[in-house]
């Protein structure tokens, strides 16, 4: 296999808060290869967004990327880069699409100016050429009458249009990697379908790699080739997308898949994962999911599980890989015994 485009090794991003050290990202490793879409899925507080920000070194104090964390893009060490070098990478080689297009766009500049700024600053393009490029990008995004739209301000556009502008800004320098952090979460479902379609088409045309961060397993199933499931600041499972949906190994992934209501599959009662995500200042010892896990036994409290090999390209951070017979012994999770549902 060729060298990955992006390689993250043992990433630790901690926040030093009055309530203690929040270990938001705690030893995450992942690779993204050229032209592929990797999905990162998990719930609020699992560390997926902080992982994304860390790749571009956009973490603000009191947050800090810890020593020993390695982030490499095309073989270059991002952690060792100076400000100028880092600026050249951001927007040029790696671009980011955020969840909330209204807050990510500047309200006092036209969308054309905001797109054109990128090739002017990063590509040294003339004002006129950059503007033409911006209009061209809007056309590529499937926006009707792009020349007129370019002269409009963000508030004059709908949510779906604004997200198209964000994508145009991200792709204008033809980056190798796009990090999309919940790119469709704020959008209505029919608009979400348009945006996902657009991203897939652009990827086919431009060969861009995508790191797709989302809480929505439906979006993952439709976009990603490989999936990384995060919980408690860690990768708990990684698998090719089909295998994850057909044969999830980690009890958390299993719970997520079962808890999701699906169109066309009406059931009497939804399966739940009881309890809530523990605070990042106090991850439980051993396995971080054990309080909520229906299989947990004493080993789970005593021993932090490593990523076990399950199958080709499939790993899981669960001792069940070592003692599979325990899967037959399902019981009430600890949080339920403690009086919570």
């Amino acid at each position: 296999m060729t060298a990955p485009l992006l390689s993250i090794k043992d990433l630790r991003t901690y926040f030093y808060t009055p309530a203690g050290v929040a270990r938001a990202v705690d030893g995450v490793s992942l690779d993204v290869h050229s032209g592929e879409t990797v999905g990162v899925v998990g719930e609020s507080g699992c560390g997926k967004s902080v992982t994304a920000l860390s790749v571009l070194r956009l973490v603000q104090p009191p947050g800090r990327i810890e020593r020993g964390s390695r982030i490499e893009l095309e073989g270059r060490d991002i952690m060792a880069m100076g400000d100028a070098e880092l600026r050249a990478v951001r927007g040029d080689r790696i671009a980011m699409i955020f969840q909330e297009p209204m807050t990510a766009l500047n309200p006092v500049f036209t969308v054309g100016e905001q797109i054109a700024e990128v090739p002017r600053v990063h590509g040294g393009m003339s004002r006129r050429a950059a503007w033409e490029r911006a209009v061209e990008m809007l056309a590529l995004m499937g926006i009707p009458s792009p020349a007129e739209r370019a002269s409009q301000y963000p508030h004059q556009l709908s949510g779906g249009m604004r997200q198209r502008v964000m994508i145009a800004m991200a792709l204008v320098m033809d980056p190798a990697l796009v990090i999309a952090d919940e790119p469709t979460t704020a959008l209505d479902v029919t608009i979400q379908a348009q945006i996902l379609e657009l991203l897939a088409e652009l990827q086919r045309k431009l060969g861009t790699s995508i790191l797709m961060i989302t809480h929505d397993l439906g979006v993952i199933a439709e976009t990603a080739q490989r999936v990384i499931v995060m919980y408690g600041g860690e990768v708990v499972e990684e698998s090719p997308v089909r295998e994850l949906f057909a044969a999830a190994h980690h009890p958390y992934t299993e719970g997520l898949l079962q808890a999701m209501p699906r169109v066309g599959q009406r059931r009497e009662r939804l399966a739940v994962i009881p309890g809530t995500v523990p605070p990042p200042t106090a991850w439980p010892s051993g396995c971080r999911f054990r309080d909520r896990c229906p299989y947990a036994w004493d080993r789970c409290a005593a021993e932090h599980p490593p990523l076990y090999h399950i199958a080709e390209g499939h790993v899981s951070r669960c001792h069940l890989a070592d003692e599979p017979e325990r899967r037959a012994e399902k019981h009430e999770p600890l949080v339920v015994r403690a009086g919570e549902r």
Binding site: T190, I191, A193, L270
Partner: protein, 382 residues
Amino acid sequence: MRDDGGARGAGRGTRAEQPAAVSASRAPHTAPLLSVRDLAKHFPIRKGIFGRRGGTVKAVDGVSFDVAAGETLGVVGESGCGKTTTGRCILRLIEPTAGEVIFDGTDVRALGAEPLRRLRRQMQIIFQDPFSSLNPRMTVGAIVREGLTIHRLAEGAAADARVRQLLEEVGLRPDYASRYPHEFSGGQRQRVGIARALSVEPRFIVCDEPVSALDVSVQAQVVNLLQDLQRDRGLTYLFIAHDLSVVEHIADRVAVMYLGRIVELADAEALYREPTMPYTQALLSAAPVPDPTTKRRRIVLSGDVPSPANQPPGCVFHPRCHHPAKDAACTRIVPPLEEKAPGHWAACIKQTPTGVSWGEQQAAGATSPPERYMPVTAVEAR
């Protein structure tokens, strides 16, 4: 009086009468608990510094439905379709512009302040955002207790006991009563919101996107809790959501809204099996399916939802519609919500059967006769 805002085209037809469209399929012989007729809420658009009237946003524009006791009516639609405004108009948290709201025989719109306050004991609401709907300066106990005090249901030690009992019923530890909202996660806060609504022992609850802000695993907990409470207490819900899968799971019947109107209304199972209005078809097919082995045809709608301040004439969905028989008549005739199959109502003059005759359609410029169009959807592709 209905305010037309002066924007309707000359060829725009009249709305057909639709009294039966809306009755609950369950318990057909008993009166519904809630009955809504021709509900409308129009917001004026003010222009300039003198507040000149510039037009009207028809947030809700002639909505009718019934909800039977013990039933859950789901209301789905995208941003700006009027689903939240509908829920709030029913409780008169927003004053409707026109229409009738009858709750258990009482005309809600005719009530003065004091009778309305008393009625609200029976009609409660759970909000979407568990972060902004709880007062951060009050303990959870005080929040849940407030309704008991206002409606003089309990005081002193009896109220304390009741609060603890309510917290327990929604799956929270009773000793959480002394804590503040910021100490809880989103799902736990939503449980507090539910306990607050339950404290006055309502019969009817408007659930306004109660799980939309929650993570998947927590969402399932809250959905199950709402279903348990309904079963144990015989509650009636109006369940508003944009997430089709959650609505399918919890609702007995579903109303689909688009630009302030109900465009389809049917039993949940029938609606998901045979979505009839082209908008419903697109909405269902757009939802991402969590199954990487299904490759299905998706109807990707072009364009955005038009502004409710500037609605298209005729069928409000026609600019984005994918029905093969769509023609000039769709731009002129307002489609009535009509019964396409028993208990299954949809607003589309091109979807057979229709009461809008071919002659009538031709007079409005029709070139394509109505036909039954059922594209492969998410449900059928399995």
